[in-house]
């Protein structure tokens, strides 16, 4: 079930909200957990037991780990072992379910080169949201291991942390320590519920009205043999995809944050106008911020970060982005995409960031946007050869337009540009701050309600008339 579907908007969400708010405060977590399990089971009935089972086992492992007493300067071996067990279990599931097919396909390719018979295997189905709940599970284990937070006192609270439906499928990746207190006790005012709903509808509109329109065009362009593409079409196609992926993913995050707010949760922000970044390094501080934080805290720093010399730092950075790419999908093009970003992150450290700083804001934003868009080519196509062909189409200077967008596409395209770069001007920043505020003045409250009403009706209408509604990040 996705948020931008009729069944969620008109059935699941209203029923859940009624059930949640009529439940006495102290039992609300159970209601939320029950609905979260139904939400997950609806999309992946076979995997719900796996997910719940993993949560239960991990809960007890981490609880046992939390009881271990450390020395003054040493960590007990048992604690290390339990931590390792927990992480290996989480990563093991991720590796098996997400990467087994990829591994076997590559192994068979190599065997083919060596003129050996391929190894037969049953394709492994991918549990929805495994990438996200694996990372959340790891943050819990590591936070408890590091003593940042005590282990959860209630099994149901922990399972709820992992399975909470607003962020279960596509994030944001919420650190356990940032919501631990809210899991036990939280309040949501009337204003929280209204503002949360506004945020949800804004996210819905971003996904349905902007991302889907961009996707329709981008899919047409990427559906054509790249050799036949006119240069203009290839450029508009990749720009459409660049906006599609941003409004799709940030829309989903807005919906998750809004739903959380309606229940009294404060989920971390996941996007902060990433296309206004002045360097690739800054881009990663603004794009999928919760993933960036995870990589930083749970991968880059444990690898040694910048504490082990410059060479090691560059290697760590590059490796982190390579793995981040692989996390996005079990395919070589994602690895290439990660490596591409890793390369520019290293280049930023070496010289690029300073150089971009010197040329002024606008040129640096344009160059960074260009680099990011070039990266999205790798993300969108299936193979390296396809990427090569598409890059060729981008720079072949072949005239004309292979796919002419209609009026709706161009209008939404212009809007997407405006919304993406709005905060480059002070007025835009001010406007955004007011729209995404926690509370509103009376006139703004009415304005926001009117805007929400229009966006909700248009989004719901769009969902009614169109079957085209896939999420890019759905099966991560």
């Amino acid at each position: 079930m996705v948020f931008s579907s009729n069944i969620f908007l008109f059935f699941f969400l209203p029923i859940f909200l009624i059930a949640y708010f009529i439940t006495p405060q102290k039992f609300r977590n159970y209601t939320l957990l029950l609905f979260s399990i139904v939400f997950y089971a609806y999309g992946a009935p076979d995997f719900v037991f796996l997910l719940v089972g993993e949560c239960v086992i991990n809960y007890f492992i981490v609880r046992a780990m939390g009881r271990c007493t450390d020395g003054v300067h040493t960590v007990s071996t048992k604690k290390k072992l339990l931590c390792g067990l927990s992480v290996v279990m989480a990563l093991g599931l991720l590796l098996y379910f997400k990467y087994a097919n990829f591994f076997m396909e590559n192994l068979n390719t190599i065997l083919g080169w060596a003129h050996h018979e391929p190894i037969g295997w049953m394709k492994v189905a991918l549990p929805i949201g495994i990438s996200f709940f694996t990372f959340q599970s790891i943050t819990y284990t590591i936070d408890v291991y590091r003593g940042t937070t005590p282990p959860s006192q209630k099994l149901t609270d922990y399972v709820l942390y992992i399975m909470m439906f607003p962020q279960l499928i596509a994030g944001p990746i919420v650190n356990y320590n940032s919501v631990a207190a809210q899991l036990v006790s939280r309040t949501s005012t009337m204003e929280d519920r209204v503002v949360g709903f506004y945020r949800f509808v804004i996210g819905l509109a971003k996904k349905v009205l902007i991302a889907n329109t961009m996707a329709a065009y981008a899919d047409q362009v990427f559906g054509i043999a790249y050799g036949d593409l006119a240069t203009g079409t290839a450029w508009i196609g990749i720009l459409a995809y660049t906006f599609q992926i941003y409004f799709d993913f940030s829309g989903y995050s807005d919906m998750a944050i809004g739903l959380g707010k309606m229940m009294g949760f404060r989920f971390p922000e996941n996007f902060n106008d990433p296309y206004t970044s002045r360097s690739v390094t800054e881009f990663w501080k603004r794009w999928h911020m919760t993933l960036g934080n995870f990589i930083m805290n749970y991968l880059y720093i444990p690898l040694g970060g910048n504490r082990k010399g410059k060479g090691r730092m560059y290697f760590n950075l590059w490796l982190c982005f390579l793995l981040s790419g692989l996390w996005h999908g079990a395919s070589w093009n994602f690895v290439l995409w990660g490596a591409f970003h890793g390369l520019f992150i290293c280049a930023d450290k070496l010289f690029l960031k300073n150089a971009l700083k010197k040329i002024g804001m606008l040129p640096s934003v344009v160059i960074t946007f260009f680099l990011v868009a070039m990266g999205w080519v790798l993300f969108r196509v299936d193979t390296a050869a396809d990427a090569g062909a598409f890059y060729q189409a981008l720079f072949a200077f072949k005239g004309g337009l292979t796919v002419a967008g209609d009026a709706q596409f161009w209008c939404i395209f212009v809007l997407a540009i405006a919304f993406s770069f709005l905060t480059l001007v002070p007025f835009g920043q001010k406007l955004q701050d007011r729209i995404f505020a926690d509370s509103y003045s009376k006139p703004l409250s009415w304005t926001m309600f009117a805007i929400t009403l229009v966006l909700f009706i248009l989004s719901a209408g769009s969902l009614c008339v169109s079957d085209f509604n896939p999420f890019i990040y759905f099966r991560f």
Binding site: L13, D46, M190, V194, F197, D406, A407, Q408, S445, G461
Partner: protein, 559 residues
């Protein structure tokens, strides 16, 4: 004490509400917004006008362990709820109005309309056909399409030649489509993907092929083109996809003249009454109705006229089977068909048979018998539908005329067994069944049908002959009908006629009472008397064992 507590509570609530009035109102409105759809679905408080257009209804699925596990329950539930949630109709209309007002377009997902110049509406495939890229939906390239059309033209010829000795004339009527008649309002070609590839148009290819092979055919498209500059009425409406309601009357008249010529017979004439101007209705605004807008478009006016049939006792009333697309509706809805034809079943896309006020499936009839009972069989397709190769009618017909039902059943059973024994094939069909909301058995049957129609000569080799000599025993059985069976059939027909006439039913009832018979007995006796009277008067003749060779319009079932 209670009063004091209540008073304090009421005061504090009042204070809270006054202080947070805006928040309370907005919270309430937000709640209403969220729950309104469920409320409307449960109560149907507001009765909204139904959406225009045909939609395949998705049934509400029942939950089982298996369909929940494989996801088909979820998929069907979402499909069902998508069609059945509160406020669907106004939401769709509002969104369509937004698309229309802001972008002059229709929902992308539906893909049912394209906007031309000056507010003209077209179906997207009609536009694609004009630019000769429609074939890409049916074939990999133009060479493959040409080969498919050539094979079909040969099959039409085979069927024409095969039926001719039995007195059944088969002919093709090429129906005009809006793109060729009104190209000046077409939008520019948006799809440039195939610009550099060879193209093909079924309408021109077929015209050439039919002429070359000697297939009986009437090209109404060419006739419409010739009329375009001289006709003082629109041949196609601005916001409809079919020929204008008025123009179709003239097309019907031309068709009758063609059948007279082909069968060398005299048929009754159509009389077109005085015309009146009226705002577009019936099929003249069928495309606009699909827009499902809140505000109607500024409408053009069109001519409408009543059609009647000239009395002519010397005229024959043949049986006509029309296999074709929706253009026939304009004719069959305006012309009193029963006054021209003894029977005129309409085999809509070779799928559903419409006759009188009834309908049935083509799978339910004895195909060979139906073909032989007809005096004329007309393949009636507009240009955009000609890529569908007569919806497999010719293949079905040739097989039915050449092979015994048992032989056909045997081939089907064998193919079904092959499919069912292949687990990967079955898995694919399961997915297909789920996605198309069909049962697995239905999907397997369709797969068998697809296999046969994809290569009929492989499974029924007689079809590979230029003119098959093999005949189904149904053909002989049809002509070897004995007199007793014939009379029984005629009696049954008369009984059905009486049952459809209230006055006659009352008469029978009175006769039954008068002569002390049961109603059924009285009905049968009356019908038998009518048949015997017709035989005595020569109005009815028991068919001989010879092939029929003229248009009698007798001894025929309604479908």
């Amino acid at each position: 004490m209670m009063r004091i507590v209540f008073r304090i509570f009421a005061d504090s609530m009042n204070h809270f509400i006054m202080k947070n009035l805006v928040k309370v109102i907005l919270f309430t409105l937000t709640g209403l917004l969220l729950f309104a759809s469920m409320f409307q679905k449960a109560t149907h408080v507001w009765d909204f006008k139904k959406l225009n257009g045909v939609e395949v209804p998705i049934p509400q699925p029942s939950l089982t362990f298996q369909n929940c596990r494989d996801g088909s329950f979820q998929e069907r539930t979402e499909g069902y709820l998508k069609q059945n949630f509160g406020f669907r109709e106004p939401l769709v209309r509002l969104y369509n109005q937004y698309l229309w007002d802001c972008y002059q377009k229709t929902p992308v997902g539906a893909g049912i309309l394209t906007f031309g110049k000056d507010g003209w509406l077209y179906e997207p495939w009609v536009v694609a056909d004009y630019y000769q890229i429609q074939f890409r939906n049916y074939a990999y390239d133009s060479a493959q399409m040409a080969s498919m059309l050539t094979e079909e033209a040969h099959r039409v010829l085979q069927l024409q030649q095969l039926l001719e000795p039995y007195g059944t004339r088969l002919f093709v009527c090429q129906v005009p489509a809006k793109d060729l008649i009104c190209p000046e309002h077409l939008p520019e070609n948006q799809d440039k993907r195939f610009d550099d590839e060879p193209k093909i148009s079924a309408r021109f290819f077929n015209e050439e092929k039919y002429t070359q092979l000697g297939v009986n055919h009437l090209n109404l498209e060419q006739w419409f083109l010739q009329m375009k500059d001289t006709a003082d009425f629109p041949l196609f409406p601005k916001t409809g996809t079919h020929w204008s309601y008025y123009a179709s009357l003239f097309a019907a008249d031309t068709l009758i003249r063609y059948m007279e010529h082909l069968g060398d017979i005299n048929m009754k004439n159509i009389v077109i009454g005085p015309r009146t101007l009226d705002k577009a209705h019936n099929s003249d605004d069928d495309l606009e109705s699909l827009l499902n807008l809140i505000r109607p478009l500024p409408n053009s006016q069109y001519y409408y006229a009543d059609a009647s049939i000239e009395e002519d006792t010397a005229a024959v009333m043949p049986k006509l089977i029309t296999v074709g697309d929706s253009f026939w509706w304009s004719i069959s809805n305006q012309i009193p068909m029963n006054s021209i034809f003894s029977s005129s079943p309409y085999w809509y896309y070779n799928s559903t048979i419409y006759f009188d006020d009834n309908y049935s499936s083509v799978n339910e009839v004895n195909l060979a018998e139906q073909l032989l009972s007809a005096d004329f069989i007309m393949l009636f397709y507009s240009a955009t539908q000609q890529y569908k190769l007569n919806n497999d009618f010719t293949k079905d017909a040739l097989i039915a005329l050449c092979y015994d039902p048992e032989e056909i059943a045997s081939v089907r059973t064998t193919l079904e067994q092959i499919i069912r024994s292949d687990s990967s094939w079955m898995e694919k069909l399961k997915d297909k069944a789920a996605s198309q909301y069909k049962t697995l058995d239905e999907t397997v049957n369709n797969e068998v049908k697809w296999l046969i129609n994809n290569n009929p000569g492989k499974y029924f080799p007689a079809l590979n002959d230029s003119l098959p000599t093999k005949r189904s025993r149904c053909v002989d059985a049809y002509f070897n009908i004995d007199s007793l069976t014939f009379i029984e059939q005629e009696v049954e027909k008369v009984i059905q006629q009486i049952k459809g006439d209230e006055k006659q039913m009352q008469d029978i009832n009175q006769k039954a009472l008068k002569y002390g018979k049961t109603f059924e007995q009285a009905l049968y006796d009356d019908a038998l008397w009518v048949v015997n009277y017709k035989l005595e008067q020569g109005i009815l003749q028991i068919p001989s064992r010879s092939r029929k060779n003229s248009c009698h319009g007798k001894n025929q079932s309604k479908i």
